[in-house]
Symmetry: C2
Subunit: 357 residues, 2 copies
């Protein structure tokens, strides 16, 4: 006879002749804190639920050099140069496929690129997007910042201004934010704020949110919409997926990896919990309509959904899209993957819905 | 001198005197399939980013009896009774806190409960919600189905009809779906479909989606909105988080656990890939506005986000909310947790936006 009963949590428990196998973690429970779950090692294959292009990206091993942790702006230089070189190599073909034009410029002293698609649909003629690139506040200087701007311009049909903001060792916190604000203020002189959207991923997602906090502080109008992708919204290492997706996210890999190291160098001793570095701690009331993007394997999935909940608690119009099996920011890794097109078309639809024409 | 270069993936690789520690998984890579990632064991604490009430739920060990796998409807009876008893024990206090009234009824031969909040706001006076409960198509008969219906009625201020659909050993596929459709058709006789919403979680989320597919097949009008929570949208075990969140989700625990076993018993040999059992494979064009709910630790996070993407590809108005650190359907575990109130208020706002008055 099988007898079941209830334990103190009201969960099903075995009282009699129940066939309940010990879980692999059962032997560890006593050694650990009572509320820490011991999750066994696992072999994680590439699921059949992603495109062939994305499967190649999902199936990559952990990023080589994820635990190389330069401690100064100067020490970052060779790492920055190597990663930038990799990006630049792919840029011409990507630019051709996405049919975008790139012009280098300077806006009130800040370096920037203007990325223009081959054709701009009528509803987007007077709209402009401000792009803050990602890279942990240290990576992707110059043209290396451009892939995401090109995806957005090409898939969305928008003119994009990508800010080539200052980074270590040239400058430190709040230089990136200041440069973004300088370009935003310059845009406001000629453009209805409701025709402007701000977007970016990772550090660029955080900077997008930080710019909204700063604009509120400075009494500037909000843009018509924003799209922070997988934002580094909490750089204090707080958030569940920092643990649950560690060593699963093959891009960021760990909260103790290169990205955190880059941010610490940029912050240069400034409090990491300042909302201008960890915007999840900021006041998001009156933020413009926001669309957030992440993936199920993203180390920053918690960083993303926490911002989404915070925006919704403030009753801001906010959409969340989470892509199957993607690690950090893999929606702009390969412009030939259908998931990339889908992610940026979705952002484009959101902008189209919320921006003035 | 430090020298970096690029490997064949265009990722940063060490060429010279780089300090790159071997990852814990490095030794396993050769033994496994080249594209399977070896994720090491980890100790996962309760994050500080959830409420104290939710922290208790997140901190629970893996559900006892998760690998008890009854093979027939009759074998499920003692398991069903034990879990139902646990739920019923908490029901009176919950009902009092949520200030809802419960009446037992029969609608065209189908057992149901009418759950009515103490006060219904004016805009909801003529609206009605149809609830399909969860429980892997075998659990939560009778009043045990009511917690989620009570949360929705209490936090949202809606009248809810909860369908006590037939389950094994009383009946098998497609009995649950048929009973849901019978109640929906009965409602259509008296109520504008645009004043009806359908909701439910887990199997109830799948049934919500299956009912939309069936309504389309039968030429019935769509309701005004639906809210499938963490739907069992793919019971063929396909989806990334079946692997990545295994042994992390402390409710479902594994795709080889009790829930899958219950579904197989209900299906009774029917093809599990039939969209009326795995609705992610159905045609979702013309679906009503949909809000989906999940958690970052949910074994069915992929099941949820895949439905979200599919709906958006079909250009259906669809919202996704993902709660920090929650395992499967933990948003309706404790009515005193702020996250529960937040989840159901969000669904209520979505219904209010999309339902006719």
């Amino acid at each position: 006879m099988i007898e079941f009963g209830l334990d103190r949590f009201g969960r099903l428990a075995c009282l009699g002749f129940c066939v309940i196998a010990a879980t692999p973690s059962a032997g560890w429970a006593q050694a650990a804190a009572p509320d820490a779950l011991q999750v066994p090692a696992k072999s994680v294959p590439v699921p059949g639920t992603v495109s062939p292009q994305l499967a190649k990206i999902v199936g990559m091993p952990l990023r080589n050099g994820w635990d190389v942790l330069p401690k100064t702006g100067e020490d970052w230089v060779p790492v920055v140069q190597a990663t930038a070189a990799a990006t630049l190599k792919n840029l011409p073909a990507m630019q051709e496929r996405l049919r975008v034009k790139v012009e280098k410029t300077t806006i009130d002293g800040v370096r920037a690129f203007i990325v223009t698609p081959a054709s701009i649909p009528p509803q987007n003629q007077n709209r402009v997007l401000l792009h803050m690139h990602g890279g942990c506040y240290v990576l992707n200087p110059g043209e290396a910042a451009l892939p995401e701007a090109m995806f957005m311009a090409g898939f969305g049909g928008f003119k994009v201004i990508s800010v080539d903001y200052r980074m270590p060792p040239e400058a430190y916190f709040p230089a990136a934010l200041d440069d973004g604000m300088t370009v935003y203020k310059a845009l406001l002189k000629t453009t209805d704020p409701k025709k402007i959207a701000v977007f970016g991923s990772s550090a660029g997602g955080a900077l997008t949110l930080e710019m909204m906090l700063k604009a509120k502080q400075d009494g500037l109008p909000m843009p018509g919409a924003i799209a922070p992708g997988t934002p580094m919204s909490d750089v204090t290492k707080v958030g569940d997926t920092f643990v649950t997706n560690a060593k699963l996210d093959n891009v960021l890999v760990s909260p103790d990896g290169f990205c955190d190291a880059g941010t610490v160098v940029y912050a240069k001793g400034h409090d990491l919990k300042d909302p201008l570095l960890s915007p999840v701690y900021g006041d998001m009331r009156e933020f413009p309509p926001t669309i957030l993007t992440s993936g199920t394997r993203d180390l920053l999935l918690s960083n993303t959904v926490r911002v989404h909940r915070k925006l919704r608690e403030a009753r801001v119009e906010a959409q969340l899209q989470v892509f199957e099996a993607q690690s950090h920011a893999q929606y702009y890794r390969d412009d030939t993957s259908p998931e990339a097109k889908e992610a940026f078309e979705e952002i484009g639809l959101f902008f189209d819905k919320h921006l003035a024409k």
